[in-house]
Amino acid sequence: MSLFICGNSHTAAIKQGMIRVGKKPADVHIFALGSGAYETAPFSDLRNDRVFFSEPLFTERLKTATSEESIDDSHIWGLVTGTHNSRILRGEFWKQAAPTYLDHPNLRPVSRAVVDAIIDDDQRYIRTFLAQLKQINAKFFVISCPPVRRNSVIAESGIPLDVIAAIDSRARQRFTDWLTEQGIPFIAPPEGTIDDQGFLLNEYSQQKTVGGKRDPHHANADYGTLMYKKVQEFLAQNYPDAMQAAS
């Protein structure tokens, strides 16, 4: 039985954290499936008690990491997905609009129901994927993506910070409520990495890519280290066999 941690680009910080920590459970592999852009369209299929990716890039990376072209119930999966909420906020719309419960009289009001519908639309293919894993009795848990950053591209584009915080918070709430309903474990961002408004603290923000470009929204290795330790704690409690080599 192996442990695979995979998901969108926020998986990278956890990989960096694992390298820093320097020891790992018996057979743990961390790999990325692809950017969060792929989560906005159907990307998985359920066939013959296995979950396949309909997105070719995901299949390719799954095969590279696991030698398998699909997921069954034989391994443990930590999935970094479902809380990459900057995707909902991009573009021009939220520069001119705000949820009705915020005090922005000069912006177009958007009802709670419409906000929730937008969020549910964004999460629907992720929820489909996770529901398929449940159907095949796969052993898995969800690892949170880091919260939105104050210095993210969306914040600098002119979207009010309280709008960003409110949408990110609401989206996280709806996703975790759904996970709870489904009985799917969720590992929240590490304590002490988030400010009062819910933004990722600057010291946990990845500032530049290795290539030197500005990184607009990922967390750094410090964050990844804390998150990796939380994952270890979760595994120790829930899958002690998987932790034997780490002790």
Partner: protein, 351 residues
């Protein structure tokens, strides 16, 4: 010189050559537009539910269609209509009577403050009596309703300033009004929100004079905003779901449609800036043998809508069927960010 005026009439003027000996699927001379409608004309649309089809076709064919309350781009397309987006030029829902139309504009100008402010249910959720289905479960509370309504009416108030052609589908003569201030509601309280109280609401069946008067009032108001504004009228071919009169629903429907058709005809005859497109005749008249209705003889089949719209766009000289709208919602994921995400993945996992 002809011996009588009919001798010089074209074939379409005679029942035999215009209808009974014609393939009505190919009927194209039923409508001769009074004025040009090209893609520079700013078009707004309102009316009963059949008007949605007309607006949709203008959008689909790339005309300059005004939509002042566009759907949030991250909201999936299948939810747009559920939340009242993409139906008309603002998020006002169906406007069945001319009285409802002019009262909406009066509310937008703050000249009318209805007594009926909201329908509040036992859970505190609030529905707008003037567009009760605009949020399928109602607004979260009265504050949310009022906030949304303020914005909505501000958009309605600006609509006529931005309109060159106003398309209006007359739907019904039957309505319910509040006794306190004679404000007309789109639906009977107790059907889509609210509670029916005969002490508060009364039935109203508008007659020809009232309907004509209301349409004239609307046209005058609209041309105050834009003196060159033109109007395209249609009559909904959708029968009444039910009548509140003591009549059978069939004659009640025929009365209603006859009044509306007569008003549209009178306005079209009187004004060179008002045109009437006979979608009603193309779908509901007896030569069509009800073939464009669904089995319940009420709902119009997509083929009927398509046929009527093809006739319209052919008549105005537009052959561009199935052009997708240029302003379709674009994916929210920005490509530059995706590249950074992929870069982060490649850098980390290639080590």
């Amino acid at each position: 010189m002809p011996s009588n005026p009919y001798e010089s009439q074209p074939p379409k003027a005679f029942w035999r050559s215009g209808v009974s000996e014609r393939n009505l699927l190919g009927i194209s001379d039923i409508f001769q537009p009074k004025f040009e409608i090209d893609r520079t004309v700013r078009i707004s649309c309102a009316g009963s539910c059949f008007a949605q089809h007309i607006g949709a076709q203008f959008k689909k064919r790339g005309f300059n269609y005004i939509d002042l309350e566009t759907p949030p781009p991250a909201l999936s397309r299948e939810r747009w209509h559920v939340f009242g987006y993409d139906l008309y030029s603002a998020r006002y829902g169906n406007i069945y009577t001319p009285r409802q139309l002019i009262q909406m504009l009066a509310r937008a100008r703050d000249e009318l403050k209805p007594v009926e402010a909201a329908y509040i249910d036992d859970n505190g959720r609030a529905r707008d009596p003037f567009r009760p289905a605009i949020e399928p479960d109602g607004f979260a509370d009265i504050d949310e309703l009022e906030s949304d309504r303020r914005y909505h009416l501000s958009q309605v108030d600006s609509m006529l300033d931005q309109t060159d052609l106003f398309v209006f589908t007359l739907g019904l003569t039957e309505a319910w009004e509040c006794i306190g201030d004679s404000v007309v509601l789109p639906t009977c309280p107790g059907t889509v929100g609210g509670t029916f109280d005969p002490a508060k609401y009364r039935f109203k069946n508008f007659d020809y004079e009232e309907t004509l008067q209301d349409m004239n009032a609307f046209i005058a108001l609209a041309r105050e905003k834009n003196p060159k504004m033109k109007f395209l009228l249609t009559v909904s071919p959708v029968p009444l779901t039910a009548t509140a009169t003591d009549q059978h629903v069939l004659p009640a429907t025929i009365y209603s449609k006859s009044v509306l058709r007569a008003v549209a005809g009178a306005l079209s005859q009187k004004h060179d800036f008002v045109d009437y497109f006979p979608s009603y005749e193309l779908i509901a008249s007896h030569p069509m043998r009800a073939m464009y209705y669904m089995p319940n003889l009420r709902n119009v089949a997509a083929e009927g809508v398509a046929q009527a719209m093809d006739v319209f766009f052919f008549a105005i000289g537009d052959q561009s069927a199935d052009i997708e709208r240029s302003d379709q919602a674009t994916p929210v994921e920005a490509s530059s960010d995706d590249l950074v995400c992929e870069e982060a993945i490649l850098e980390t996992f290639s080590q």
